[in-house]
């Protein structure tokens, strides 16, 4: 063999050697190699199934929040639920205890969430102190003060906040003061408390005064994990008052849901009434049964 190689030029030699190697391989085990190829080929259904499972694990859960069928759930009328809650709350600080409502939605895991503010026919919080950040002495400042804001100003507010004196529950800002606000770097102090004004939460507005008006009797709510939770009444409310508040809330949430994108479908799935120290009672939408006590007995502290 080497004699051939010595005679032939290098190019020809390489061609020959490649031919030879191919030939030899085939001659040694032609049938075996072909068989192997068939077994390793992609048309083996068993192997195919295995490979697919390994490459594409279904990491994402269900697209929607899983909501169970409520047929096993015992549901209560509003008056009955109130009767139980008032019994559980007996002897508690009357001002501290409140009725809460948890509105559970049937919705997708991703996508927009409901986030809004509501003004009840019967106010839940007695007083909410509002701070407005806008240039002092401006027209907006005067209007905000007239509307009931507690603290109005720019630099003096920033100083107070930096000194740790936060004597307000809500904070609004006028767009004109936004640069000053950002410069003061209060995000670290106000941010964790949820007080930092931002356009996204709707707390940076032109018409400060009307917003203050709205906030004073208003409650902010948002959807978290397909549930909207919000306080809905003081413990001393009568069932009628609570019903009015509940009705307003549900109507507004339905409106919010329909105001979202057309493709997003949200619907109310369960309404649960609870209180500060009490358990949650699933409501069945009725006002009272024949066994319920008189509504006057469920009023007051």
């Amino acid at each position: 063999m080497s004699s051939y190689g010595a005679v032939l030029p290098t190019a020809a030699r390489s061609i020959l050697s490649s031919c030879r190697s191919a030939l030899r391989e085939k001659s040694i085990a032609p049938a075996f190699s072909v068989y192997q190829q068939v077994r390793g080929a992609k048309n083996n259904p068993q192997a195919k199934g295995k490979g697919k499972k390994e490459t594409k694990p279904d990491r994402r859960g269900p697209r929607e929040f899983r909501q169970k069928n409520l047929k096993d759930m015992e549901q209560y009328t509003l008056c009955d639920a109130m009767r139980y809650l008032r019994a559980v709350e007996v002897g508690r600080e009357p001002t501290a205890s409140k009725y809460e409502v948890h509105i559970r939605l049937r919705t997708r895991r991703d996508g927009p969430v409901i986030r809004n503010m509501i003004r009840f026919p019967h106010a839940v919080q007695t007083e909410s102190r509002i701070c407005v950040i806008c240039p002092p002495g401006s027209k907006q400042a005067k209007e905000a003060l007239a509307a009931g804001a507690v603290l109005v100003g720019e630099d003096d507010v920033f100083e107070a906040v930096k000194a740790g004196k936060i004597e307000f529950d809500r904070c609004l800002a006028h767009p004109d003061s936004l640069p000053a606000l950002n410069k003061a770097a209060l995000g670290r102090i106000l941010g964790p408390r949820g007080l930092m004004p931002s356009v996204k939460t709707g707390t940076v507005v032109e018409d400060v005064a009307s917003r203050v008006e709205m906030l004073r009797g208003g409650t902010v709510y948002r959807e978290r994990d397909a549930v909207i939770r919000l306080p809905i009444g003081q413990l001393g409310f009568s069932p009628e008052q609570l019903r009015d508040n509940l009705r307003t809330t549900i109507e507004q949430i339905k409106k919010d849901a329909s105001a979202l994108n057309d493709r997003v479908n949200k619907e109310i799935y369960e309404v649960v009434l609870s209180s500060t120290h009490g358990p949650g009672f699933s409501l069945n939408g009725e006002f009272k049964t024949d066994d319920s006590p008189a509504t006057s007995a469920l009023t007051g502290l």
């Binding site: 015992e74 009767r83 559980v88 358990p279």
Partner: protein, 206 residues
């Protein structure tokens, strides 16, 4: 989300306020008799810690008052917690118009006053019961005797429900023991194996 059955189980456990000690109806204006005038209000004062016989009063609040409130939603009930361990805990019962005939006997000769109790409205009479060193069941029997409250027995469904829940609790205890035994056996086995391996390592080093 929470499993519905878990949720219901928890709710049912809480809802034992329908029956039990203190599930009774006070005489109202409709059902009042000469002996027992209607009860309009209750007020309980006790101290934060149990020293000085304040334990029963707190238990009374925890176990009896919710049941009373459930069956008498119209009767106002307030509780005042103080830091004063030395003054005895007291329950003030407010009767409309006059005291019941048994109230003065229950209150006894030693009259105490409760400065935290709200002042009685016009036409209301109060009886202050000294609760020092009484258990909540004793307190309840006194309250019942002095007001003539009518006990409400558990309904058949409530009784069945209670039995069912009790059976579940008993089964849970048994299951817990069984599972703990299994886990312990597995742990023992693993520890034994680890020890054996350690001995082999030691032998190798020698």
């Amino acid at each position: 989300m929470v499993n519905l059955f878990k949720r219901m189980r928890k709710l049912k456990t809480i809802l034992d306020i329908r029956a039990g000690t203190g599930a009774a109806i006070f005489p109202s204006t409709a059902s009042a008799t000469k002996e027992f005038p209607p009860v309009t209000r209750l007020h309980l004062t006790y101290a934060r810690k149990i020293y000085g016989g304040h334990q029963g009063a707190r238990h009374f609040w925890r176990s009896c008052l919710p049941r009373l409130k459930y069956h008498n939603p119209g009767v106002r009930m307030t509780v005042q917690q103080t830091d004063d361990q030395d003054t005895p805990p007291a329950l003030t019962i407010y009767f409309a118009e006059r005291l019941s005939s048994t109230a003065s006997a229950i209150v006894g000769a030693k009259k105490i006053t409760d400065k935290h109790a709200p002042a009685p409205a016009s036409g209301e009479q109060t009886a202050v019961v000294d609760l020092k060193d009484l258990s909540y069941k004793e307190i309840w029997s006194r309250v019942q005797a002095s007001t003539g409250a009518e006990e409400i027995p558990a309904s058949a469904e409530d009784e069945a429900e209670r039995k069912r829940l009790e059976a579940i609790t008993a089964k849970a205890g048994k299951d817990r023991e069984r599972i703990q035994g299994m886990r312990q056996a597995k742990k023992d086995q693993e520890r034994m194996l680890a020890e054996a391996r350690g001995e082999v390592e030691k032998l190798k080093q020698l």
